[in-house]
């Protein structure tokens, strides 16, 4: 089947920042994304898990955004501003999508 090149951006960020990230993405004209739950993890700031965490306020989520390659930079800049001061991991990968008109 015919597929089209796109970029998949994954941003793992604290749940308390999710609304702000959504707003930043909207300002960058990115209106398509999906939010996934995160159970736990480990990083420079140690280990945590959703059930075991001291404050349940402290969980993270993963926001995944599939986007046309030419719009990537604008999204990364919007995300970077938030991720800079806050905990967060941003990865970008190449994907193919079925219907290009959607992105």
């Amino acid at each position: 089947m015919k597929t089209h090149k796109a970029k998949r951006v994954s941003i793992i960020i604290e749940q308390v920042m999710q609304r702000r990230l959504a707003e930043a993405m909207h300002s960058a004209d990115v209106t398509g994304y999906t939010v996934f739950p995160v159970l736990g993890g480990s990083g420079r700031s140690g280990e945590w898990s959703r059930e075991g965490q001291v404050s349940r306020a402290g969980g993270m989520v993963q926001v995944v955004c599939v986007i046309r390659p030419e719009r990537l930079d604008k999204l990364l800049e919007a995300a970077f501003e938030l991720v800079e001061r806050h905990i967060g991991i941003v990865t970008v990968s190449d994907v193919e999508v079925l219907r290009a008109d959607r992105f």
């Binding site: 604290e14 308390v16 920042m17 702000r20 700031s45 140690g46 280990e47 945590w48 959703r50 059930e51 075991g52 965490q53 001291v54 404050s55 349940r56 306020a57 402290g58 001061r85 806050h86 905990i87």
Partner: protein, 324 residues
């Protein structure tokens, strides 16, 4: 003194405290016992709804006097003022940076609603009544401390303090639920209470047990992971600060002319430290502050301290002084 001791011992062998101890022990022993997040959140919603509703019903029964407004005001001032004392103590007693000290201070100005609930349950068991509107004071004390802490570090460049953030901390779920159910209880009064008493009253103590079991599990895990941060100075602060808060709460309660129970609750509120609303606000506004420090301190040291020693002490002192 005898009374204090006997209250303390009674308190310690209650199902509530022992449930907390069970959770703490299980987590420290690395048992995989855990309560699903959704269930824990469901129980906390139940507790907030029930305690708010009962406070409102009590106000509808006894009416309000001038002291409602004064108490709310006093609560707000306490919450806003305590962070300054906490901050000063932390800078003297510990090596925390200004940023970390401010973040910790915010927690101690704000309140822990479970500590409040545990205190009301000790009062109930002892047959000591209290002003129903203290639950509204509890809600009012949640947020002001956050602003004080932000002010303390406001020189540190640009800080989150936009309208959005204000709305977020003021319309925090637990404040809204507490105030909302308080108003519902007030509006529907004894009749409303009778309709749902077998839900919000009868099982209350039992739900509190399971909730404290979960608090114990969470505190235990926090201690296991965060014990590295607990230098001696911090631990001392975790016990000294609630006592300081309690003294101020005592003075405030007496000045307001509250009943024995009301004074004891003001002490417990001032002594308690937040571990839900404030940590979330700190992650947004002061992300560079280390969450392990404030969470471990609040949940691992101060909460157990208040639960086991603090509350019976505050109740005993309030009884002694008010002659209740």
């Amino acid at each position: 003194m005898d009374q204090i001791l006997s209250l303390a011992v009674d308190n310690l062998v209650s199902p509530i405290i022992l449930s907390f101890a069970l959770g703490l022990a299980a987590a420290l022993a690395r048992s995989d016992l855990s309560i699903p997040e959704a269930v824990a959140k469901g129980m906390s919603i139940y507790l907030l709804f029930a305690i708010g509703f009962k406070g409102g019903v009590s106000v509808s029964a006894h009416g309000i006097d001038a002291s409602l407004a004064l108490s709310l005001l006093a609560g707000i001032l306490l919450s806003a003022g305590l962070p300054f004392i906490a901050f000063a103590l932390l800078r003297v007693m510990t090596g925390l940076s200004r940023l970390d000290a401010a973040a910790v201070a915010a927690h101690y100005g704000s309140i822990s609603i479970v500590t409040f609930v545990a205190a009301t349950s000790v009062l109930d068991a002892a047959g000591i009544t209290f002003e129903g509107y203290v639950v509204a004071v509890a809600a009012a004390m949640e947020a002001p401390a956050i602003l004080s802490a932000l002010w303390l570090v406001s020189k540190n460049g640009k800080r989150e303090s936009d309208a959005d953030f204000m709305q977020e901390i003021l319309l925090n779920g637990s404040i809204v639920l507490l105030i909302g159910s308080f108003l519902i209880g007030w509006a529907t009064g004894q009749e409303g209470f009778d309709r749902i008493a077998s839900f919000i009253d009868a099982p209350f103590q039992g739900v509190l047990c399971l909730f404290l079991l979960d608090m114990g599990l969470v505190a235990g895990r926090g201690l296991r992971q965060g014990s590295g941060f607990l230098k001696r100075g911090l631990v001392a602060f975790g016990a000294l600060m609630p006592l300081t808060g309690a003294v101020l709460g005592l003075g405030t309660g007496l000045m307001l002319g509250l009943s024995t129970g009301g004074v004891a609750l003001f002490m417990a509120l001032s002594a308690s430290a937040s571990y839900i609303a404030v940590p979330a606000a700190m992650r947004v506004a002061l992300p560079e502050a280390n969450p392990s420090i404030y969470l471990t301190l609040s949940l691992g040291i101060t909460f157990p301290f208040n639960l086991t020693i603090g509350i019976p002490l505050y109740v005993a002192v309030a009884s002694q002084i008010t002659g209740g």
